[in-house]
Point group: C2
Chain length 379, copies 2
């Protein structure tokens, strides 16, 4: 089984951007990277072959909360883990389920032990604890798994955030203990990332980074951002966390964000991202392209037979036209959702790949400035 | 531009099944063939690449009624025709819109001139005549286009069906006149198939076949079957039509049917089929497989990690498991609809391909008998 071995290949002179590589038993990942979200064991509307061939995804994310509820752990374990269940042979990362328990479950009650919640599907009651969330992620079998944390709403007062962060830290110790007492179930290694919390309070963020960093994990996640606060605060606290997290481990900013958020946060030192935005916004006709942002429902595209995005290397974006995709969206055809999802995922993955290229080439800052101008505009 | 040139390669000894080939400027088609239905310029939930690589589709169908309303003829003509609009470079057949005017439109009024109807989308009023339906299909640009007909409901009394059939025949003459007065718009040739009507009245069917056959068209369609009558009547009147249609032209049975309908009607002398059943039933969790019919929603598949269909050559059916597809369908994931559609289309196209192989090998009748036993069972 592979050592995780994050290799930092290049650090930018003018920003804190980095290019690196990490290794899992399901293959290498070049950073910075964007991970498409495969909520229930599928990236919505996209086949695994399309993910590989058309979007170029190197690693995808699965949601522990969703997978635990459906299909359930017995099915996943009988299948031989999520990779075999969904026929995806590249790396997978699972979150801990904490965020969905707070955002989706019908009701929840937090105690020192863990969280009791009701399923949003059938109202059934369940308990997540740091220990059983480790066991659950062992059974799902992702390459990278996340510690169980509480993600406070924004805004929350200092006292609540501090108490919550301390609980997350105590839960982390319980996660680490269980993680080290158990082993992977499917013959490939798993790596645990702890999660920094601390809300939008600088001293708490700093303290959380130091606590998390002291555990010697293979990588570090930043949680509790992009939960409603202004964009400038995302960048401020993301930057602060990057300053206080080790240089030699990958940094994963959870649930962020727009394409320009990615570039800004890469410049602050982030290596890994995930977000439902490319797929969710795509299904709502918002397309991110190398030329700017498109509302493909708009009548202006009715006669536009130019490729969806000439700037992307994937065949989908080359051979489908704006007029055709608009027609599909207006007609509520499923293929429209698929094409829009592939376009947006391809764009995100192309964008972080370009960032990487320019970090290595040494002109990331100027490339970022000129690229932001283009990709943020509405066309 | 190619001559249509239907070549009859083999006729079965024990049945009236035939194997043949016809040629269009977008490529050859081997018969018997099943044509996936691409209603609004897309086969629902399936990309053009998946259609080619995974289902093996040789030719697809487009619906004139749908395409006329949305995206509309101006868009299609500006795109350079449907092939360029939807990025499908193999043959396309369009129906005449007649069937949808009668089954979908909000209201309709038939006169000698044509049919005035209201759009099911926005209630707007439109007129289809034999002449403008030819012009419409010139502008859509399918390789094979259909004459405008009235399709009477079942049951309809003798007098109504006779009057309707005579109208269809008069419309056919107007279609042929307009067809020959005009030419293709996009540099590839188009071929017009007339449609036999006559309901479930033997003398009318026979008369309609003789009238239609006298026009010397490149192929002949049988309409007005599978509109509610018992299955045995479909076979009875399909067989009767085949007996009275020329041997040297392809025979296309419109809108039929189940996989076993296809085998029965191939045995009666049909060469071409289309039906929404594989895609529509697939989206409702009914899978046709080489082992029998599956309701993939059923709990019995929850732990079944065998391939969706080991008997099919396509990769989709090999690497996705029954348990995974069941999970996707239960979770209402779009990928489930795509996989189910591809499975069913692959199965239909595999089935007619096998029929062809056995017609040529000379053992079609015995192969059909043993195959029907397997594919009809519920598993």
């Amino acid at each position: 089984m592979a050592a995780f071995r994050f290799q930092l290949e290049h650090q930018d002179d003018k920003t804190r951007a980095r290019a690196g590589t990490f290794r899992t038993d399901h293959g290498e990942v070049s950073t910075p990277i964007f991970m498409p979200v495969g909520t229930a064991g599928t990236v919505k509307a996209v086949s695994q072959q399309q993910l590989k061939d058309d979007t170029g995804a190197q690693i995808i994310l699965g949601n522990t909360y969703h997978l635990y509820l459906r299909p359930g752990l017995d099915v996943l374990q009988a299948a031989g883990g999520l990779h075999r269940f969904n026929h995806w042979d590249r790396p997978i990362l699972t979150d801990s389920g904490g965020y969905q328990v707070f955002s989706l479950a019908a009701s929840r009650k937090i105690t020192e032990d863990g969280v009791v919640f009701q399923s949003h599907i059938d109202g059934s009651r369940h308990l997540f604890t740091p220990e059983n969330v480790m066991d659950t992620q062992r059974r799902i079998g992702a390459d990278i798994i996340m510690a169980f944390d509480e993600c406070p709403a924004w805004p929350s007062d200092y006292k609540y955030v501090k108490t919550s962060m301390e609980l997350t830290h105590r839960w982390l110790d319980r996660c680490l203990k269980r993680f080290h007492e158990t082993g992977p179930l499917y013959g490939h290694d798993q790596y645990l990332f702890p999660i920094v919390q601390g809300g939008t309070h600088a001293d708490l963020r700093k303290a959380s980074c130091e606590t998390i960093a002291s555990k010697g994990a293979d990588g570090h996640a930043i949680g509790g951002l992009s939960v409603g606060e202004p964009t400038e605060m995302i960048y401020e606290y993301c930057g602060l966390c990057c300053e206080h997290l080790p240089v030699d481990k990958p940094r994963y900013l959870m649930g962020v964000g727009t394409p320009w958020d990615l570039l800004e946060c890469i410049a602050l030192g982030i290596d890994m991202f995930d977000c439902v935005m490319p797929t969710r916004n795509g299904r709502n006709a918002m397309l991110f392209t190398t030329q700017g942002v498109i509302n493909i429902d708009n009548k202006k595209w009715e006669y536009d037979f130019s490729p969806l995005d000439e700037g992307l290397p994937n065949a989908f974006s080359q051979y489908y036209t704006k007029a055709y995709v608009r027609h599909l969206m207006k007609s509520k055809e499923i293929l429209g959702l698929t094409i829009a999802s592939i376009q947006n995922l391809s764009f995100y993955i192309w964008l972080v790949g370009e960032a990487r290229t320019h970090i290595i080439a040494g002109d990331f800052a100027s490339w970022k400035a000129s690229t932001l101008e283009i990709i943020k505009r509405r066309i």
